[in-house]
Amino acid sequence: MQWTDVLSFVIKALILASALGGLGLYSSLFERKLVGRFQNRYGPNRVGPGGYLQPIADAVKLLFKESIKPTEAKNPVYNLAPILALTIAMCAFAVIPLGPDNLNIFGAKFFIADVNIGILYILAVSSLGVYAITLAGWSSGNKYSLLGAIRASAQIISYELALGLSLLSVIVLSSSLRMQDIVQAQHTIWFIIPAFISFVVYCTAAVAETNRAPFDLAEAEQELVAGYLTEYSGMSWALFFAAEYINMITVASIATTMFLGGYQPLIDLGLGWDWAAPIWFALKVSLLMFGFVWLRATLPRLKYNRLMHFGWKVLIPLAMVNLIIISVIVAVVS
């Protein structure tokens, strides 16, 4: 490896990070407009044509808002936590392929790194996300923040097991840990069909991992003010907010790559339209994002004991049995 390779990685990472930042902003508009529709109202429609400049107005407002820091805040950690949240949310994207190996713009391919432990890397990075929340809650020096953070970390650790187990059946089916191999293995049939239960388990665990409704106990406003976000304001709050939406995009992208055939088209017309691969990817991701918003608009929040019960006594055994069945079938067939 040469320093020029490092430079190309850095440039690609910068492009991806800024794209994700923009997408994170606009997925907030996506969600607000959709939730508006679900609740029989318009949603934001004042700023710019049709309300499409609303996220920019929000970002500018938050940028100029004063960041109030409580006197009890433990300083380096308090400032570091939002940055950590955003960084970890973006990191997992490094191995997700947006296009096939032979597709490139000026020689630059549609993924940052094609490592042969792709899934393990994703699991490793997503397991670090809990630190941002725990540290934010602790360093705020507020009881509600600490309680929210502890709830969130218990929830994330519990649902991470189900998440990992559901991804294992994809590994069994594709017999590879490389993301490109997994996408190619779905050329004939998407893994959502043989591993439908895994897909359902993954999506449930993913909603819990991103702390979104109906699993948003960490910021249950009736009991905990805003959970670990209580003492954050202005830009540092905005970073957490952006991290949540980017996390949503990331888990939707992982689900797309693992279960929905990644960048492959729904019907291969045989036209050789390789350039359409990223568009297919974006379409599938937005479909899943729509599902997340739909869940949030429909389901009420779970009680904490129900949440733990569901994670440990329903999801994990289900994922385990499903994994065993799929492994047996794969072993018999091959």
Binding site: W3, A124, S127, Y131, T134, I150, I157, E160
Partner: protein, 172 residues
């Protein structure tokens, strides 16, 4: 060249953060230093072509065990437990000299291993282009053939520990 720079930076970070774990004034900062240490060790594993160890280090140690440490430490928030501030001078001296002794032992063992002569062969087999050393496939095969007995015994041990934890937790 890039690899060497990464190795040196990760190694230095691992050393500094390991020291930080011991001398930090607050237990939460010690846990954070331990996190930094685990991440730099994972980087070292990656540079040594041990990809599975890299992932396992992050998923198991950084992602699960240390989170539980942090969990307990943030709840209890213990104050002032630190070797450098220990008022009992005898105990402090004992701890520090024991630490230095163990450090010397470790450095001696490493020096012996490096000057023993087996190293170049292993290094060459690891860094050759089509080496499978440290890949997940290789690791899994070794675990389920050559090291099957220790692996199964470890799983039994974990099961016993799990049952023990449940029994202790149930006792009123």
């Amino acid at each position: 060249m890039v690899e060497q720079v990464v190795l040196i930076v990760a190694g230095a970070l691992a050393l500094v953060s390991a020291l930080g774990v011991v001398i930090m004034p607050n237990a939460v900062y010690s846990a954070l230093m331990l996190l930094l240490n685990l991440v730099s060790l994972a980087t070292l594993f990656l540079m040594l072509h041990a990809q599975f160890m890299f992932a396992a280090q992050l998923v198991v140690y950084a992602g699960a065990i240390l989170v539980l440490f942090l969990f307990v430490v943030t709840l209890l928030n213990p104050q002032g437990e630190n070797i450098l501030r220990d008022k009992r001078r005898l105990q402090q001296a004992g701890t520090i000299s024991m630490g230095l002794f163990m450090g010397c032992l470790l450095v001696g063992a490493l020096l012996y291993a490096f000057t023993n002569g087996n190293q170049p062969v292993l290094a060459a087999s690891v860094t050759s282009p089509n080496s499978t050393y440290g890949t997940v496939e290789d690791f899994g095969k070794a675990l389920f053939t050559q090291f099957l007995l220790p692996f199964e015994l470890t799983s039994l041990l974990l099961l016993v520990a799990l049952i023990g934890a449940v029994v202790l937790g149930k006792r009123k």
